[in-house]
């Protein structure tokens, strides 16, 4: 036993970067809401980008460590404390047996990520990494982790700039960009104007499956039945009541609602960090730009 939950959080779990290759069987890849913060926490500890991490939502779980190891917390700032002493985000933190990690208040962001330096016992691979089959973490859950020591000099090699770049990407007021989808041309001109100009509010019913948007209802030129097809994280679906839902990490694999477009990968972490009742605007981009931005973001992590 290496990490134990001593107090249950609202909806915490272990995620990796998602398991693809099973969507044809109805199994969603899951993965983190904010892939960028999960990657950042891992790279700071010298882990593979895809290493499992704890994804936390406020109020978050309280953890107890049973072995000395290094951890790193990135993403949302829930004011983490170890034995009531505040610790820094985006920095390797040494923890010792009996140390307790808790989170005091949701200062900024929606999802926090705790990476750990060590190998997770893979016997529970399905339960641990496929969030599709995982229930949220509860009291007394424990995770066997074989600690691995931090490479010397590693901390220095992670540039301060990288943290700054990720923070700037996550927390800003920019528009969320999307690429129009198959049903875009079925919208009324008025609805297109609404989509392009209005400020959407994230509804309180939003969760890992999807973010429901409050705003002026959007309409198709005429009612239309669509043949179901695959959807992705970031798909903007138009519900029959005129509301839009943005599919997030635990989306179903197939959708039958009007597919208005997809939010581009680089803007998903920023959207994922928005709390209920916050606002954002949409804007259109194209696939070339989206690819260029994604490549540039991923190049930050290559040394």
């Amino acid at each position: 036993m290496s990490i134990k939950i001593i107090k249950k959080g609202l909806s915490d779990r272990i995620v990796d970067q998602g398991r693809f290759g099973f969507q044809d069987l109805g199994i969603q890849p899951s993965g983190p809401m904010d892939f960028l913060s999960a990657q950042l926490a891992n790279i700071i500890l010298g882990n593979a980008l895809n290493h499992p991490v704890f994804e936390l939502h406020f109020p978050a779980s309280t953890f107890e460590f049973q072995e000395p190891m290094h951890i790193c917390i990135s993403g949302a700032n829930f004011v983490p404390v170890i034995n009531e002493k505040s610790i820094a985000l985006n920095t390797p933190i040494q923890v010792y047996p009996q140390d307790q990690l808790s989170f005091l208040q949701p200062l900024e962001g929606r999802s926090a990520y705790m990476a750990f330096k060590g190998e997770l016992d893979e016997n529970k691979k399905w339960l641990n990494s496929y969030t599709s089959f995982q229930t949220t973490l509860k009291k007394e859950d424990h995770f066997s982790i074989k600690p691995v020591s931090l490479c010397d000099g590693l901390v220095n090699s992670v540039e301060h700039d990288l943290v700054q770049q990720v923070q700037k990407t996550l927390f800003n007021e920019h528009e969320i960009r999307f690429i129009p989808g198959p049903a875009w041309n079925d919208l009324t001109p008025v609805s297109i104007q609404v989509l392009m100009h209005q400020s959407f509010t994230i509804d309180a019913k939003s969760n890992r499956m999807g973010f429901l948007l409050e705003g002026t209802p959007i309409h198709l030129t005429e009612p239309k039945q669509y043949v179901s097809s695959a959807v992705t994280m970031g798909t903007l679906q138009l519900l029959p009541n005129g509301q839009i839902i943005v599919l997030m990490a635990d989306h179903q694999t197939i959708g039958g609602y009007a597919n208005l477009g997809q939010i581009i990968l680089v803007d998903l972490p920023r959207l994922a960090q928005l709390n209920n009742h916050s606002h954002f605007k949409l804007s259109i981009t194209n696939v070339q730009t989206a690819h260029q931005l994604y490549r540039s973001i991923q190049s930050w992590f290559i040394h």
Binding site: L25, G26, P182, S228, A230, A290, Y294
Partner: protein, 243 residues
């Protein structure tokens, strides 16, 4: 043997970007009873190539979606997939024997009102007796159009008009794993306990999904339901019946 009557690409498939990491290939002629064999063959063709960077190949009704890794795609994804489809057409006309004979999967179902909890009400809606409803449901061979909603949940069709039933206006909080339901033109089996709004007419003792073998069904499969009695249901249900 499959004969592919594809004259030109434009006539057969539409290619549509789905954001920055997926692309949709859609039959231009739409859905026409069952899953189009050309589409099944195209999915098999793409799978066989094990293309680096294609993370998911998802077949549904009249369309196929490829999910890709941006870092592995230097080229224009639209042109890339266009070329892929052209290669498929060339390959297919060279040696026609694309092996895509669909499997027939037989599923034992116990249509006892104690398990098929909506059976009696459903017969009333369909304006027939229970026996006639069971007879209709078991007489047809269904096509798996896609999997979704839950891991391993297969949407099958088409249910004969006579026994097409509306969803419950208010979904049940829990439908037991193995429950066989009807919703409109579709029939399906709940792979695990879950909320659900379909009309439940029976239950199968087969475990249609587990985390090791994954799903019993895949898109394109043919499915036939065979009625069994309650005694056999319990006998099979008590076995560690994996398929």
């Amino acid at each position: 043997m499959v004969s592919l009557g594809m004259q030109s690409l434009g006539n057969q498939f539409h290619i549509h970007l789905l954001g920055d990491h997926a692309i949709l290939i859609k039959l231009s002629k739409g859905l026409n009873g069952g899953i189009d064999r050309d589409l099944l063959a195209l999915a098999a063709f793409i799978k066989e190539q094990k293309i680096q960077g294609i993370k998911d190949i998802i077949l549904a009704y009249d369309n196929l979606t490829l999910v890709y890794d941006i870092l592995d795609f230097d080229s224009n994804p639209y042109l890339y997939v266009n070329q892929l489809v052209c290669n498929f057409i060339a390959e297919a006309s060279n040696h026609i024997a694309l092996n895509n004979a669909s499997r027939l999967i037989e599923v034992p179902v116990c249509y006892d009102p104690s398990l098929g909890i909506d059976l009696e009400a459903a017969a009333k809606i369909a304006n027939c007796n229970i026996e006639a409803l069971i007879q209709e449901h078991t007489a047809h061979i269904y096509t798996v159009y896609c999997l979704g909603f839950l891991p391993g949940f297969a949407y099958m069709g088409d249910v004969p008009k006579k026994i097409q039933l509306p969803r419950h206006p208010q979904p049940r909080a829990t439908v037991v794993a193995g429950s066989v339901g009807i919703a409109g033109k579709q029939t399906g089996i709940y792979p695990m306990d879950s909320p659900g709004g379909w009309q439940i007419i029976g239950r199968t003792p087969l475990k249609i999904f587990d985390t090791i073998k994954l799903s019993l069904f895949k898109a394109g499969d043919q499915v036939k339901f065979n009625p069994i009695d309650l005694a056999l249901f319990h006998e099979l249900n008590n076995q560690e019946n994996v398929y």
